[in-house]
Structures are given as C-alpha cells and as structure tokens.
Symmetry: D2
C-alpha cells in the first residue's frame, strides 16, 4: 500500500503527468499552524535549479484541500495537493518497447498488466517526493523540539564539497550521471522510542527511507564498518550523560537511547542519462540503442537531503 | 508492535529467562505439511555449537500449540512455542546498576519504567530469533518455488573463510568479539512483487532485517558502491532474459524485476565481551569497570544467515 | 483513522464547507473501466431532491486526481475529489455556544481542542458520504458478479411505502423529522469470505456501516428476533443447495456460506429540525432555545440505501 | 486476521480439542499487577455450571507464557495460555458428512479446503472466548477508572428474570435451546474517544462484538426504536452536565460524549440441540436426520455478559 504509519499516517497519490500529486495525512495533531510559506522552504530545497539538477519547472505550489481551518490543522485528515503543469509526455513515448534501464517502466507494466500510466514514470516518478516533503514539514512541526538535519556528504565518491561542481559538470558533459551519500542526524531524541524487533527504530526509518526512489543502502552509527570492528572497539560505554561514542547511532535494541540518531543513505546515480545505452527492444526482440532525452538531474542525490529529513520526521511523528 | 505482515502475519513473544518464547503466525496457508523435523534443520543452523558461538544449550524443541492438525496447517493461527530451560539468571544480576554497553538493558528500563524483565536481556534477547527461524521455515514452505539462501561472506573484515577459525580463536583469547557480513540471494522471484514507495520490497526486507538484533546496515545490489558509480556503469540494461547486471539487486522502483534479489547485511561484533569495560555505574554515579561473565558468542554473526533467510521468507510470504 | 480496509483501502478526507471532499482508494485493481458517468448514477441516488430531502444543491461532479489513465484504473492509488460550492456557513454560526442536539459539534470541539472546522459539521458532515458512494462504485466494479442491493423498508415506523409521502409531509409541516430502516441483500456471494472471530464478515460490515452517520443498530439474518426464537426454529438446516432458511443472513462462524448476505440497518431521525429545542447554552450557562435554520433532510434515511451498498461493497472488495 | 487493535493488540489462537487456546496481547501497558486470581473471577463468570449451561469441565487455569515479571506486566507481549483437557472428540465424528446447522463446520471445511481441525468446531469453538475473557481482564485493568458492566436482560424473549429457570428447564426437556439479549453499560467514559467515520466508537465496538460467536445484532442507545421516533423525541438536548436522555448511547458522530456508552447485543439460541434435525447428508446426498449428542448449553447467552464486557474493554483500551 502507498501509505505509512500507524498514528501519524501518510498516504501518497498521483502521477508525474497526471492531474496532480498529493498526500493525505491522517492523525496529524490539531492546532498546528501551517501556511503555504511554511511548506515553501523545504519544497525549495527539493526543487531543481541547483547545478546538476533537472530543468523541469513546476509551480510546486501547495493547495490545502482539507484539514486546515483558519491557518491551523483541525485534527481531521489533512490533504495537500500539487497540480501538475509543465509536462512533456511526448518525451516518454518510446519506453513501452524499450524500458529505460534502472527505471520502473518494465516492472510497472508487468505488475499492473500494461494498465499503468507510463508518462514520466507515472506513479513511480520522483515527483511523488514533493508531497512527501510537504508531509515532512507537517511532521517536523508535530515533533516540536526534535531536530532533524540531513546533508549530502559525498558526490560521485568524493567527500570534498569544493570539487563537486567540477565533477557534476564533467558528468553532464559526458551525458552521464553521479550518485551520492546523505547523512542524517536527529538531535533531542527522547529515550524510549521504538519497539523491540519488528518496530525497531531502524526498521521504521529504513522502511521509510527505502520508499525514496534510488536508495541502495542504509547504515546506522558505525554501519558497515561495525562489521569489521572488535567488540571492544565498537561497544559504546555509558558515561554520566549517556552513550559516549554513539557507535549504534542512537539506538539500542531498536529503542532510542537519547544520543543523536545518525544514519547514512546511499543514492544511486540518476538512471536517465543522455549517453546512448544498449538495451533490449521488446518490440523488435533485439538489442537496441536507447538515448533518453527529457530533462533530468545529473545527480538527483543533490535534492534528497530534505526528502530524507521528511521521511525521518514522518517516522518519528508516528513513534512519538 | 511486535508483529509483522499484512497477510502472513508473524507475532513474537517471550523472554530469555521466562517461561517460553514463541510465535503466532496468522494467515499461514492451510495444507502445509509441517513436523518438528521440518523445523529442526533450520533451528540447528541457528544453534550454538559452532566454534565462536555460545555454550548455552537449550532443547530448542518446538511445541505446536495451535493451527496444526494431522501434520498439516489448518488455516487457523499457527502457534509454535519453545520452553526455556537452561537459564542462569544470576549471571545478569549486576546490570541494573551498570547497563551493558551495546545492549538494550538501559533503554528497556527507561522505556518500560523499570518493569521490564531484565534477566538475560528479557524480551530483547537473541533467543527470540528462535521462533523467528521457526516462522521462517513455515514461510519458506508457503513460498514453494522461491529459493532463499544466505551465507556469511565476511568475519572480522576478512572474506577468506579459511582464516576465520584463527581470527575467532584470537578474539576469544582476548576476551573480545567480531562482527560479520551476511549476503542473501533469492532465486525464482516472480516479477511484480512489492509496491511503489512505502511498501517497496527494499522497505519491507529492510524493515524485517533490522528486527534482527545487532544489524548495523543493509544494502541492495551494488549497494553503497552504487553511490560512487556513474549512471552508465551502474545502469542495468535489459537483455532478452531480463536485467543483465543486476546492479539493483532484483528490484526496480520497489518492485521485483525477475532477477535474483540480492542484499548484504552488516552485523556488529557481539556486545557481551569478557574483556573489562569502563562504563557508568548508575548506582554509585561513577565510572566503573564491568566484566561480563555469562556464556556468549564470540561472533554471533555466524548464527545469523538462517535468521536473515527467515525474515526474508516472512516478507516474501506476505507479499506473494 | 479515517481509512478502512487491508487490501482495498479507502481513505476519506474533507469538510462540508472546506475546499473539497474526496477519497483515496489504495489497492483498487488495475484495468477497471471508470468514467464520471459511471459514478453519476449512484451519486444521483444519494443526491437530495426526493421529497423529504435537503434543498442544498452541489454539482457533485467527480474529479479524478490520480490513478486513472485512458479511462481505466492503473493500479496506483485512485483519488476522486468533489469541490464544495453551494455553502452557507453563516447558518452555522451560533452552534459554538449551543451545540446542536444529536450532532458532533460538541464532541468535535472537545476532541480537537476547539481547532475543528465547525462550518456545516466540518469533517463530520454527511457530505463525506459522497466520496464514500464514489468508492462504492469502484468497489462494485471490482466485485464483478457479486450483486449488492439495499432499499428502504421502513420510514417513521411504517413499512407501507404508499404512506410515506404523507408521513414526510406531516413531519416537515411540524418542523420535525423521521428515521428509517434499510435492508441490504448481497447475492452471488462466494463461500468462505471472512475470518473467524475478529475479521468475521459481520464484524467487517458492521464496522463499515457504523461509519455512516446516524446509524443506531444493525442486525443480520433473523437479527434481534433470533434472541426470542428456539434453536429448533432458528437453526438453518442444509439442503442440497445450501442453507434453507438463511436465518443467519448468509454467514456462519463469521464466514459466508453461499446464501445471500442479509442485514438491516436502523437510521435515526434527522437531528437538525426547525422545531425549537430546549438545550444548554455553554456561553450563558443557561438552558436556551435553539432553532436550526439551514436546509436539512426531513428523513435522511431516504438517501442512505446507496451508502449502505457502498460500504458493503468496500468491505467485500477488501475480503475477496 | 485473528487479531484486533492498533495500540492494545489482541491475537487469539487455539482450537477446541487441540493442545491449547490462548492470546497474545501486544501493547499492554507495563506495570499492571496481574495474577491468576485476578483472571479467575471473570473466567468463573464465563464458566459453565449455571443452570442451562454445558457440563463440559475444564480447569480453565491460565498459564502466563510471557510478558509478566514479578507479578507485573513488563511492556513486552503478554501471552496467556489455557491447556485443553476434557475433550471428547468422538462426539464430533459424524459432522463431516452432515455439517451441524448453525455451525461453522461447513464453511470452515470449504474455506480451508478440508484441512481445518473439525474436532469440537476447531478454531471456531466458543472455547476461544476463554482467552478473550482473559484479555478483557487485562484491558479492564489498563482502563482504570472506566467501569464496564454487562448483564443479561432477556432470555427466550422474557425479561422477567424470575421466570428464566422455568423456561430453561422446559427447553432442556424438549432438547431445544434459547437465545438472549445482553445489555452493556460503560460509565466514566472520557469525552473524545473514537474517530469520525471508520473508527467511530460504534464501528469499533460492533466489530469486536460480532467476533463473539452467535451474535445476531447490536444497537446503541435507542437502537432500532430510534428509527421509529421523531427527531424531536429522539434528539438529546444538552443540560449543564451533558446529554440529558442519552438516546445515542453516549456517542455522537462516532465520538464519546461523556454520557455512559449503552448498547444491546442479540444472541441466537444455541445451535447444538439434541432434538433431531432434518439436514443434508453430503455423503449420501440425501436429506437425513441429525441428533447432536455432546454436552451443550441450553442457552449460551447466560455465559456471554462477561465476554461482551471483555471485547468492550479491549476496544476501549485500544482507543484510550
């Protein structure tokens, strides 16, 4: 199902080139002050326009359909919609015969028996992360003191931010794309969030993070490095203020321990590249060459920190 | 909540040193042949006894409380229980004052207001993975043709299996512990499992995998490496038989694409080590030295491949 | 939460005098042909205009926001929205001080800490049954052969349809209102729907039916009369074609038995009456006289058979 | 699924003549004092032994498998099991060919493809209400001040309690059975429980009540009578202390209004009667005569008030 959460429940809807994309938030607390302006800051962080991101322009203006009265949430389901405008569906005509490598074109067609909306990736489009970001703003407001901050720490394998513009330019010139790694840190986390086993905080966060298109991995605290450490190195002794090394990323036994939650997310390079790719043509039943036009990010990871924050906020708003 | 799944629903219960641990499986298909012997093979793979694993011995004998009639599942909830026997609770007396680093002692006490069962980690104990393995056997049987195989590919940072005994011995001699990495591969996966966004296959698998105690990270296909690749390297062109490189680990847009699902899981080193650790004594309110006796794995990752298989089977049984 | 269903999941949103009301249907099968015209028939059955119903006029025109492509459902979440137009909020000004007897004004204010949208009952308005009817149309299409038919069998205690116009006129003249009873029958039900205990068919249907505003009771088969019968009278012997008397309304042990599902639903008289009512004024803290203007049904039960059908279809679409 | 609740989650398991019946309660608050004795009072109210109830004797002794430590709930899943003892399966041999009218024998066999446990009704047995009562005790303790009281108000259509012994004797002498009506009242209910539409209090309570075997109807407040009243009669004006007539049974718009919740439940007469019944023999494919031996209640409704209380407590513990 396209929804998440037990108490603070988020349901996404929409397609890239359909009428609209949007989100219904069921269980948002009443009395949260919320305006279009509140949403626009995070929406702006997701928007294209940075070097290395798509030139598709949308108004990205939120429309409140329900759940808001005199500038405050009412307690009833809150619905936020974004109209689709600047669509160029003709760019996507050829992909029925030649599904784009790395995209959901193929699986969507098989899963939904060729009834899926193929334009712009349809329901699988990254545009669905727009209402996700909107829901994240509401969740952040519901969380009050808890502070969530994500940032890009690596682009194309390079962690030196000063070199990124160069790398992006080069990839663009080659008609190629780059991936990246986002680190998210949550401060002021109360002790005791999460449940043992199936509803561990890592379970919930990873569940939500893998809902973001293009994620390939997630690790908490020392992460994959922990598998190469000794117990005496990795173990995190308590001090008077709580854990001292935070090797477990703020979580023990699935439960928050009061230290900051820390995790990293690996994003693949953008799948849509203008560089020609050899791939199968299901119509001619032969290998063929695909050149993807359209407007695409060189490195969509640049736009993802705010999305990682959003899903993290949604998880925590549900757990709190 | 301590349950997982929408259709094939698994609920864990029990404590390490309580009366029993067990699992209720709601939604298991009727007519599955199931005997104690069927369970014992996978249970044996989880059992201690390998070099580097704990010397605690339990009968680990499954008792069917419900849902089985004349050797077949009935369609009604299936309950499998394991009695606890060989417990030495006195080993755990001191941890109220000095919570063990890396364990849930501290968070469990705070979360449940000091009402939690602290003996042997209580409900947070790794012993709960025993009913999880039992549920995995049922799930595997429900999956029929789908084949799930997990194996340890790294111990203490070393991928050469021939050197593991030496590494384990050395760690044990030092009173220390090691971590490891498990790789899981699923063959014969039908195209179209999973849902876009929140119920993506990666979301569901990672959710279930992080329910296993001691997991620090998960990655699918090219994983974290993908973040350092170019689109033209990472992209996975279709051939006549489907994806050719499987860089996405069998999943596009959250949906299985027919190629094998491939993922890797990082396990931390065992937290309980006999080597003395400096940690906070909440009673004396001073730093103190903790020496953990008890019987513990040098590298519990050795016992986890069958558990990774189990949770994967549970996810797929729910999705199919 | 304002959603229902595990597989065919319906989420309602909107307020009477807000921007819009609508529904997101997650899990609707792909490939269902669906047009505005398809919806208008059932929407028309719910519309006011019959003798004894409100004179409020809305276009009631459905707008498909997502999940529909080239006239067919895509498999992705289907969102149907109805804009609100003909609102007269000033009619509702006084109810903050004097909550209308029989309405949710009072509880909504307390529950949501006076942040609720009070105009026209806000989220509690009967207008929310409009998207419910739309979801019902989709559910009926998903059910194919199963045939659901509800009709009013009693108005104001009278089961002789020929006398209803007279009763309604009289009640209207008195500024009063009437209740009614709806009977619903489902034909061509496959054997085996439902689960024992908590997800019995009666549990699911009654859950959904009590979501309709103004329902006071529900009974299946012989219903309350069964409590006054002997076992030998009530028992339903099998014949070669299945149950012979259908005293249990098509359900045994919570599971459909192949006979038609039959149940009756009691609707209260409309709460909004123009006749003056003595009730408490929370501002003056004295008893006071309330005269409700606005435009209201004399007997809203007249409009409910199609709503009962809708929720029944939603339940069955989820169970099938 | 055989579970109920979002926060306070109850999962039933077991069969009448299997190893055991039981319940897992996930989400029970920590720190509730709980002993076998606490359970025995309500268990005793459900037990046979009253005039008109079955002579089957079970120890009905609860065994705590998990979630209890030093006499208090721990916060982890609480599992309560009851072993089955006094079973006479041979009584049930014939029902494969001739399913008992009014029982689930037939639908269980079809639903689960003849893999169901048929002994004593298997998972559909009324014995499953024993763990339900146990869960109810825990829920009542979790509810603290809220007071739930159910009682039988009608047996065989007669509301004069003094005449019941006579009626029961007569029915027993005739090999027949009687039904009854239970009224449940909940005092000290906080204002604001429940959600509009799908999670209305009536929706939740009716959902849980129809999980009890043998229920034919439920009505709140004025119930079916409301359908025959005028608005001016049924409406419930507010006084300084809240609703004055409680015609809606303590619920407006699905939300509790502070007045007592009041509802009535209709139970059918016991289906198992010793009087011979003409019914279909699926083996001989002819009508045949069935005489049900075994030990059965003349009027099982006598044992149900405590079960109605239990499911009501479970609902409220989940909503609070």
């Amino acid at each position: 199902m396209n929804s998440f959460g037990r108490i603070f429940r988020v349901s996404l809807f929409g397609e890239s080139h359909g009428e609209a994309v949007g989100v219904v938030i069921d269980g948002a607390p009443e009395g949260i002050g919320l305006s279009k302006e509140d949403l626009m800051f995070d929406i702006g962080r997701r928007a294209p326009g940075l070097n290395g991101t798509t030139s598709r322009r949308e108004s990205d203006e939120p429309i409140f359909l329900s759940g808001l009265y005199e500038g405050h949430t009412t307690g009833a389901p809150l619905t936020i919609m974004f109209k689709n405008g600047d669509t160029r569906s003709e760019d996507y005509v050829a992909f029925d015969a030649m599904p784009r490598p790395g995209h959901a074109d193929f699986v969507a067609s098989v899963k939904w028996d060729w009834e899926n909306d193929p334009r712009g990736g349809g329901h699988f489009s990254g545009r669905l992360t727009l209402p996700l970001v909107a829901a994240g703003v509401v969740a952040k407001k519901a969380l009050e003191d808890i502070d969530i901050h994500a940032e890009l720490i690596e682009v194309g394998g390079c962690s030196d931010e000063s070199k990124w513009p160069e790398l992006l330019e080069k990839a663009q010139a080659e008609g190629d794309s780059l991936g990246g790694i986002v680190e998210c840190k949550v401060d002021n986390v109360p002790i005791g969030l999460g449940e043992p086993f199936f509803d561990s905080v890592e379970s919930m966060i990873s569940h939500a993070v893998f809902a973001i298109p293009g994620v390939r991995g997630i690790e908490f605290g020392d992460g994959f490095k922990a598998a190469r450490m000794k117990g005496s190195e990795h173990n995190d002794p308590f001090g008077p203020e709580g854990p001292t090394k935070n090797s477990s990323g703020g979580i023990n036994g699935g439960i928050t321990n009061g230290a900051p939650i820390v995790f990293r997310v690996a994003f693949k390079p953008t799948s849509s590249i203008s560089k020609p790719q050899k791939t199968y043509n299901f119509k001619t039943q032969k290998m063929d060459t695909l050149a993807i036009k359209g407007r695409h990010d060189v490195c969509f990871a640049l736009r993802t920190p705010v999305i990682v924050e959003a899903v993290t906020a949604i998880v925590l708003a549900d757990l709190v």
